[in-house]
């Protein structure tokens, strides 16, 4: 039973420090989740998560670097250890098997680590573990199917709404003549470009609203000249000729 060299003690001390750091950052995350109401902003959560993940990486590096030493070490109480007052710590140190809870964690971690665990053994040993494992793992085929399904579904969902226009659906339902825009001009409730790829019923709805415009507006002239570009007229005289006329009174 050789005593530890200084180097080995140093390794142990380093491991202890890194573990302590990990515990601290986990503790601060838990505390911020518990204390702040509403939840802390996502940016701070994310930075805490990245700190924790860095801590985990450094712990795991430390443990695997000194695997040989750590796996051969045996703990035993020295004669000067205060066994009476520190009985709990002593028991923890002298454990030969892991705590049942910790054993669960380790098991779950191993399952997540191995690519595809043999389902039967775990299902028998621990059904809940098998369930979590199945939830996390999607096969390549499943993923492809999801990707095929999602864009179409999202697009359809988007199409159900009428994007653009001057009024929201709520304002239309309440009657657009009640909307206070602060503008002297009448706002049109449709836009030609958007209209083109709308469905039929969308068009009917727009027609009704145009009708409301007529009744409530009172100034039909503005309505008539409003931007309905059914027959766009491009200028005949080029801009440079207009400017030339404005400058010299002649067109050429």
């Amino acid at each position: 039973m050789a005593t530890l060299t200084n180097d080995q003690i140093k390794v142990l001390e380093q491991s202890r420090q890194r573990l302590a750091q990990l515990t601290r950052s986990l503790g601060s995350l838990i505390a911020s989740l518990n204390q702040s109401d509403p939840l802390p902003p996502w940016s701070s959560l994310q930075s805490q998560a990245s700190i924790i993940s860095n801590n985990l990486i450094s712990v795991s590096e430390q443990l695997s670097d000194h695997r040989d030493l750590l796996s051969t070490l045996v703990a035993y109480p020295g004669p000067e250890y205060p066994g009476r007052t520190q009985a709990n710590t002593l028991e923890q140190l002298l454990r030969t098997k892991l705590d049942p809870r910790v054993e669960d964690w380790v098991e779950r971690g191993r399952i997540a680590g191995t690519e595809k665990p043999p389902p039967d053994t775990f299902a028998i040993a621990n059904p809940s573990l098998a369930a979590t494992a199945a939830q996390k793992q999607l096969t390549e085929a499943d993923l492809a199917e999801l990707w095929e399904w999602a864009p179409i579904e999202a697009n359809e969902e988007a199409r159900r709404r009428n994007w653009g226009g001057n009024f929201t659906l709520e304002e239309r339902e309440a009657g657009i003549q009640n909307v206070v825009t602060g503008l002297r001009k009448q706002l049109e409730d449709d836009e030609e470009e958007e209209e083109e790829d709308e469905e039929e019923d969308e068009g009917e709805e727009e027609m009704e609203i145009v009708g409301v415009h007529r009744k409530s507006g009172g100034n039909g002239v503005e309505f008539d000249i409003a931007p309905h570009h059914a027959h766009p007229v491009q200028p005949v005289v080029p801009l440079s000729d207009i400017l030339r006329y404005m400058t010299t009174g002649r067109m050429s």
């Binding site: 503008l183 570009h229 007229v233 207009i242 010299t248």
Partner: protein
């Protein structure tokens, strides 16, 4: 002073929409304005005109000095600009009730009142000459000198030397003749103005006066009805002009800042209109 400009042609169907967009952008209601623009052309060699009176050099006002400088610099077209109100147009006043519908074949379709809708171009009967509150003798004028835009500027902005000076009210032609300038023609600019930070936005178009014989050689003393004015651009399109004035055109720093502001506006309006620099020769004010 320098003036930096960008222009865009606005088709008539886009006009109302653009007005709204500009109102939103500038957070102000459009300011509708009319301007009479008289074009004068130099006919004398520069240096001949002298507006000094006697030996009273010290008494020359700043404006007069500037006018001298402008007018003696070279052979240029200059503009005399007079703002008018919409009430100055003939249809804003009261027409002679004797000019009834039977005497005239040209009823004004816009006026809803059948008794007063008979305004004419004033040629076939004395009684049908429309009256308005317009008083030519009280018309205020401003001389606007614009140099030809600078050549070979690296930035994509029209930039030119400019100067303005106040002129006496009323008939301006004798004074201009004395300076060596002859009247060429006149037109009306109708449009809306917006201010966006340090940029003035003018959305305007040129209107022609109805041509009456004998009126071509001098500025009109009476305004016709607005309905008789015909747009120069037959489709009724407008010109959007974004302009910015720079006091010291030799300061490269301010000129750069100013054109950057204009570019910023161009970016903001990119989806609505395409603001561009104008063809330099189309703004050539030199007399050839």
């Amino acid at each position: 002073m320098h003036e930096l400009l960008l222009f865009a042609s606005v088709p008539t169907h886009q006009h109302a929409e653009l007005l709204q967009q500009l109102a939103g952008l500038t957070a102000m209601q459009p300011r509708h304005c009319f301007e009479r623009r008289l074009i004068f052309k130099a006919y004398r060699k520069p240096g001949v005109a002298n507006a000094r009176v006697g030996a009273s050099q010290d008494l020359q006002s700043g404006d007069l000095q500037r006018v001298n400088k402008m007018l003696n610099g070279g052979m240029f077209y200059t503009q005399v600009v007079g703002p008018i109100q919409s009430a100055d147009f003939a249809d804003a006043g009261v027409t002679d009730a004797a000019a009834n519908a039977s005497a005239n074949a040209n009823p004004n379709p816009v006026n809803p009142d059948p008794d007063t809708d008979t305004k004419m171009d004033g040629m076939d009967s004395e009684s049908s000459i429309p009256r308005s509150a317009y008083d030519f003798d009280q018309q205020s004028w401003q001389l606007e000198f614009r140099d030809i835009p600078e050549a070979g500027t690296r930035s994509a902005v029209t930039s030119r030397v400019m100067a303005t000076a106040a002129l006496p009210r009323g008939d301006i032609v004798p004074s201009m003749n004395a300076w060596g300038y002859s009247f060429v023609t006149e037109y009306l600019v109708e449009g809306d103005m917006f201010i966006h930070n340090d940029i003035v936005l003018n959305l305007h178009r040129v209107l022609h006066y109805p041509t009456n014989p004998g009126e071509e050689n001098q500025p009109r003393r009476q305004m016709p009805t607005l309905q008789q004015m015909a747009p120069l651009e037959k489709s009724g399109s407008y010109v959007l002009q974004a302009s910015m004035m720079v006091q010291d055109g030799s300061n490269q720093e301010t000129m750069k800042t100013a054109s950057q502001h204009l570019f910023g506006l161009r970016e903001q309006l990119k989806s609505a209109v395409r603001l561009e620099m104008a063809d330099r020769l189309s703004l050539d004010t030199r007399v050839k």
